[in-house]
Structure formats: structure tokens, C-alpha cells
Symmetry: C2
DNA sequence: CTGTTGTCTGACCATACGGTCAGGAAATGA
DNA sequence: TCATTTCCTGACCGTATGGTCAGACAACAG
């Protein structure tokens, strides 16, 4: 039934619409509540209120609190991995790492809640996404380490331990999301302006790139 | 009664001993449980079990869960601030920032749970220690920024935004505690060895110090 | 129109949690 | 020894939470 399929895609029908709309609503609300209160502190009632739906409706789309949480964490992980693409098609460390820092800083700015949920999950021993750490993340990390090593071998940057360099990149960029509240407090209580975000990016890039002898 | 006071200090008496011993027991257990489960996920029963005491006994020493939590966070904050002393009596950025990195890395290694509790607290909007952020931390930060600025003005380091440099120092060092589980997973599941910790410290110091033009 | 499937929800339940309390045990001081 | 203070704890309570369910309602297919 190609015709039906096409119609379904172009005119999805009310049911499909409702499902996608509500799932999205719930996931966005859950991301915020999980980020603000942690898994244990978050309640389905809070998420339901924020989503503007009855609590029972949440359990219609997501069987358990854990299932909803897992979905939220997976979404974040995907965004986070996708943003690392710019790392690959780079000629050298200045392009590659510079673009990676830009991308990750942008994620910290646009998806601070997601970053917090991820941080929380890892801090608590990654009970839900341990398998991701052991497979996808490990593979990705090994690949990037190899790339950095070729840059070192070809003299494009100083011989810095690639693994610890990666940790520094993650730490410095995600800090602006995970510790955003602290940063705002030290910024007279307000969020960083466009100019301040630009300065943050440039500062991080300046120190790191000069630090690896590629600035 | 100076005699009584002195005797109390030298021979504290069983009651004083018991109190100090149990309070310490509870605080250490609480630090671990709060770090592993977050404030919301932690239960007084879990803390009690880990401390080897009945739950009701916890409420004898700490009236509420929040009071116990507040105490744990305060302890960490103190350790964290004290370790920053080495920053002050330094001639220049290489000594000062190098020693600061060493000290903070050592804290990440020795008090990972404390660091996690602190991170969790800040990530959730610092509901308990907001006043500390606005007073002590802000003052400390302003002071260090001034010091770094003098180093820049006297040409001892490159003109890097001091505030963002501080954030980088916090982020990179605390990452080894807060994301310790992720790091261990990427390290074949085991904790870093002495050699690996040394390498981590050296990598961070090398990149940062060279990055600020002081390496 | 009619049957079927998917969507929604108020009311309900079992459990687990933070916190209380009465009263017993142990240490201390006189 | 006796009185007083501190320490301890099993049993208990009110509440809030995650999750369930029967049944109402809306969309779709034939």
C-alpha cells in the first residue's frame, strides 16, 4: 500500500499527530524536571503538570518513570554524538578541535537541561546507560584518540595525551551547562549575554589551542 | 572552669567521643549515599544502614534529612576553599595555577563523593547553598581574578579572561571526580592507577600552563 | 451507521518515605 | 547510691509517590 503510506506521511492523521505532539511535550517537560530535581527528586506529577497533561496520560505513553528517563537520556546522547561530526572532516587540530569546542559550547547553551541530566546519570554510576558508555562512547573515544594521535605524529600539535585532552574538552564545554547556575550567580545573577558567550568560547579555544601547541 | 575545659579537651569523656564518632559516621555515610543517589534519591534508611545505625538514631543527631545534607555540603565547601590557599602565596601563574591544579586534582581523587554532592547541588539550582555562592564564592572568585589580572598586567602570562580561566580550572579538575565513573568505564572499568593520575595531572597542567602562555 | 482501534482520565491502591515518640539503657556528677 | 542528663531505638504515623484500571470518548475503516 504505497498510497496509504504516502498519505500517512503527508497527512499523518490526527492520531499520529497527537501521539507525536504529546510524546514531545512529555519529553521536554521530563528533561526539565529531571535536570532540576534529579531522577529521585523528579515526580511524575510535576512532569505532568509542566506538560499540561494528567498524570495517567504520561503512563499511557511511557509505561514507567524509568522508561521516560531512559528516553530523555538517549535523546541527549544522540544530540551529543551528532555534534561531534565536525571533528571528523577536519584537516588538523585547529579546525577539528576548534569546531568541536564551538559545537559543544553551543549545545551547553541550547540544551543545558539535557547536559545536566546526562551529568547526573553518569555521576550516579550510569545505572541506565552503562551499556552506551561501554560500546558507543568507548568506540567514539578510541576513534578520536586515533585522529589526535595522527595529528601529533605529523607534528601538527604538541604531544599531549589525547585521552586527557578529550576529557578537558568535555569538562570545559559541559561546565557551562552543568554549572550554569553557579556561573549565572557569579554573573550578578543573570544569564550570559551573546557577547559573554562569545568571550567564553574564545577563551576556551584560545587556551586549549595554544595549550596543545596549535594556536 | 579552665580545668574542666582542659580535661574535656584531653579526655573528652565517653559521651563526647560517642557523639563525635557517630556524627562522623553518619556524615561519611551520607556523603556517599547523597553522591550516589542525589538528594531526592537518597533515603535516611540507606544512610543509616551504611553507617550501621538505626534510622531513628540519625534523627537524634540531625533533625532532618535537609539538615544532614546541608552539613555534608558545607564540609565539602570548606575542603574545597581551603585547598585554594596555595593559589595565594605564589610568585606567578606557573607556581600558583600549577599548585592549584595539583591540589584540586588531589581533592578529586580523595573526595570524589564530596565533589559529586557539590556538583549535584549546584546543578539543581543550589537550593541549599545559594547564599554561599553569593557571598563566599563570589568574594573568593573576585580575589583570584584580581591576582590573575596582575599576572597578565605584568606580562607573566597571556591576556586570557581570568574568569573563564577559573571556570576551566574548576571544570577540568572536578571532571575527574564528577565523571569518575565514565572515566573508569573508558579505562577498562578500573580506577586510574597512580601513574595514570600523574599523567592526568601533568596533561592538565601542560595544556593549561602552555595555554596561558606561562608554560 | 457500525464495529474497532486508539486516546484519555478520575479514582484508586500498595508501598515507601521522612519524621515522631515513649520509654529503656548507659554515662555522669554529687 | 541516687538523680540527672545524654544516648539509643522499635514501633508507629501521615503523606506522597509510582503505578493501575475500568470505562468514557474520539478517530478511523468498511
Amino acid at each position: 500500500m504505497p498510497r496509504t503510506a504516502q498519505i500517512t506521511r503527508l497527512k499523518p492523521g490526527k492520531r499520529t499527530d497527537i501521539r507525536r505532539e504529546n510524546e514531545s511535550l512529555i519529553r521536554r517537560a521530563a528533561e526539565k524536571v529531571f535536570a532540576e530535581a534529579g531522577f529521585g527528586g523528579a515526580t511524575m506529577q510535576l512532569i505532568a503538570d509542566l506538560a499540561g497533561l494528567p498524570k495517567a496520560n504520561l503512563h499511557y505513553y511511557f509505561p514507567t518513570k524509568e522508561a521516560l528517563y531512559r528516553r530523555v537520556v538517549q535523546d541527549i546522547f544522540e544530540i551529543w554524538l551528532n555534534a561531534a561530526a565536525c571533528f571528523d572532516n577536519a584537516k588538523g587540530p585547529v579546525d577539528g578541535i576548534g569546531a568541536y569546542i564551538d559545537a559543544k559550547m553551543e549545545i551547553s547553551r541550547r540544551h543545558p537541561d539535557g547536559s545536566k541530566v546526562w551529568a547526573s546519570e553518569v555521576m550516579h554510576g550510569a545505572p541506565v546507560i552503562q551499556d552506551y558508555l561501554e560500546t558507543t562512547l568507548r568506540d567514539w573515544t578510541d576513534g578520536r584518540i586515533a585522529v589526535i594521535q595522527t595529528w601529533i605524529d605529523s607534528g601538527k600539535m604538541a604531544p599531549v595525551n589525547p585521552r586527557h585532552l578529550l576529557y578537558m574538552l568535555w569538562a570545559t564545554t559541559q561546565h557551562y551547562a552543568d554549572f550554569g547556575h553557579q556561573i549565572e550567580t557569579l554573573n550578578d545573577g543573570g544569564p550570559l549575554t551573546d557577547q559573554q558567550w562569545r568571550e567564553a568560547k574564545e577563551s576556551v579555544k584560545a587556551v586549549i589551542l595554544r595549550g596543545i601547541g596549535a594556536g
